[in-house]
Symmetry: D2
Subunit: 240 residues, 4 copies
Amino acid sequence: MRRVAVIIGAGPGTGAAIAQRFSATHSILVLSRSLPGSLPKLNLDTPSDRLLAATSDGSNESLKKAFELLSAHWPNSTIDVGVYNTNFSFSPGPFLERTEDQLRTNLESGIVSAFNFSQHIIPHFLANEPNETTRARGTLIFTGATMALRGGAPFSTMAPAMFARRALTQSLAREFGPKGVHVVHAIIDGKIAPPKDSGREMPSEAIDSNDIAQNYLDLVNQRATAWTQELDIRPSDESW
Amino acid sequence: MRRVAVIIGAGPGTGAAIAQRFSATHSILVLSRSLPGSLPKLNLDTPSDRLLAATSDGSNESLKKAFELLSAHWPNSTIDVGVYNTNFSFSPGPFLERTEDQLRTNLESGIVSAFNFSQHIIPHFLANEPNETTRARGTLIFTGATMALRGGAPFSTMAPAMFARRALTQSLAREFGPKGVHVVHAIIDGKIAPPKDSGREMPSEAIDSNDIAQNYLDLVNQRATAWTQELDIRPSDESW
Amino acid sequence: MRRVAVIIGAGPGTGAAIAQRFSATHSILVLSRSLPGSLPKLNLDTPSDRLLAATSDGSNESLKKAFELLSAHWPNSTIDVGVYNTNFSFSPGPFLERTEDQLRTNLESGIVSAFNFSQHIIPHFLANEPNETTRARGTLIFTGATMALRGGAPFSTMAPAMFARRALTQSLAREFGPKGVHVVHAIIDGKIAPPKDSGREMPSEAIDSNDIAQNYLDLVNQRATAWTQELDIRPSDESW
Amino acid sequence: MRRVAVIIGAGPGTGAAIAQRFSATHSILVLSRSLPGSLPKLNLDTPSDRLLAATSDGSNESLKKAFELLSAHWPNSTIDVGVYNTNFSFSPGPFLERTEDQLRTNLESGIVSAFNFSQHIIPHFLANEPNETTRARGTLIFTGATMALRGGAPFSTMAPAMFARRALTQSLAREFGPKGVHVVHAIIDGKIAPPKDSGREMPSEAIDSNDIAQNYLDLVNQRATAWTQELDIRPSDESW
């Protein structure tokens, strides 16, 4: 049985690392605004018969198409992993110089698209038999950030969106945990290192995307008697 | 010098109680979607020369008009209190039966309008001299709810909006506190009793709107060496 | 009917300011290790027939004696306010240079004495009729600190004690709120200014003890439909 | 090079499961009040040359002896894992019927012994070279509970101790993370199933100790660019 992981927000950094890590056990559908055109930039060595890319801006319409494509391409597969990894638009600054549009842009990727993505993937999870090892029907991981916990002064257009995302993960975990769906909010606290082939230097205190990916894999492998809903992920030398 | 308090989300319950309480010291501008038509329902005994009502749905355009009206009506006044009290639309239920529209409706009143309201009122605060007693240039109070702290299972369209509102208040408090603006997030935990003349019975364990209003007045009166950013407000017999 | 407020941890700073503020409505019992000898240092102008001082180190034995003294001195009075304001011993530093004794010292004042004080005063509260205005049978306020929420690197002997105190206040609020006892945890975030006659300069960004006292009085005056369990108190220009 | 994991609070449930799981890569020192006598009850199949048991009540004296025993028994070994897993004494009930002694008992195991254990094991960690794979010098995991986050009404003698333990883990993580020591607080939310050979039935919604142990192993294996300081561990059907 083909297992499928769907990763939305699949850029060359964390998204690609997660796709790469899950491709050992899963076929992968990667989604972003720039895919499938930008697929070469992800540098994935996943065999082509286990990799699919489609465009999604997080709208219901685009997600509907993407899941239809998936079902047509890999019929009878088991979709049992979803990763919501879209970035907010980084727009810090003095509140009175921020705009409603900047806030709205971040609410789209922060919460509205996350809501839509969840509505599309959870029904697939619920249709699965529990995994023989973990007893999960599916795992849905949301990438969060420290600004999901603390609204810093310059982040008035960003923190609200990340707080909102966190709220959604709690509602989903409480509703769907007892139904076999594992919902996780991963608080990434620190800078993520640039991809190694980017030519940019990796600062010593940055998070390696591959290590985030390994953490996500560990979360998928948690057995259902001992699930984590929220965890922080932080470099050892980060001040917090 | 005329002091003005602007209250948005001024329905017959908490909003009216707050307006009533502040009218001892302030002229009042009340804003809501149904005002000024619904003004009689607020049952305020504020003298008419100290009361103004205008329509606002929280959009920038409507707020711009409302503040222009205020400035024209009460020129040279000191706007030094703002209360953001709009309700979310109560839409609990199973996640897969919720809609993107329900979420969006709550994001509008939960965070977008709060952002807009803050952008319109804070410049007025910053233009004030510090209050002689409190040393504040202005106080901005946001009504929050327990679901700003905890995303319960049925609240996937509501908790994200209230988490987001809380984030905004933290960003604003951190940026504008040192500039003399007091920003508060009040977590109302419990049912608010219906207005006494509503004909509905007041349950013993409900919050009296007048007591919320008194708390808000106490917050405005806090001196700037000892400000509260967040507090919970809860009936004594509420289970939490 | 004589109303009595009991303040433990009554030094020349916050404790004295609280005693002073409550003496408008209450007779005051102040307790500390150095009282009654150090009473002159508190600079209270409370009439002597409304002021009582006794020694307590927070032990059950000392508290038992103090409450017996109170009952003998002011029979038939209504004890309806308690303030737990003892300081921790300030002992920051590298963990491996801290000692078990430093930790134990802070656990005594941080939590064990707070537990004891609560066991002595709450039965008095429960024996009261509800206050006619607030409907409270008594109010118990604990002074907390930011390190009740966040364990900073140098605070390994202090943060555990303040976290523990916060936990106690939550348990007490949940058990005794429905019985008419108002339990508050006040998170003081910032330096408290030295008493004005101390000769030390008051930094602009420090908390004025009198403002803490006013906040505590506001909390006592909250009506039981709208009680606060936790609030932060912070100077406007504190960075947090 | 022999790697050693030290587990304190090693009873037949979680402690034994953790010891068992780590014995694939580590020699194990188990500590508890009833060890070494109770060792057979742990049912470990660790080879005897990789298993050591000693008595400790968490006092500095007992810990000093235990670490001396370890150094004598396995000289030149690398102590790089510590697990603090001691239970609190379960003593819920009405506050006015609780005793100072019950509180003190829980403070001993909740925080004082945790402080002592940390002071004994961290210097061993700091003397290690960073692990080649993870870059950690050592990992210190504390078992926590939901009552570390929320003081429930009946838990006035227990929640303070567990809040305090959490505070300690934060101080240690902030001080020693940059020095290569990974400090984790694991919030176990739910009942832990009895050992399978206990004759007691395992309820469906209980946590399997082996799954906690696997989570702890995953935490030890986290690479230092992506460490977790706090996570919850909860059965899928737990209500929270």
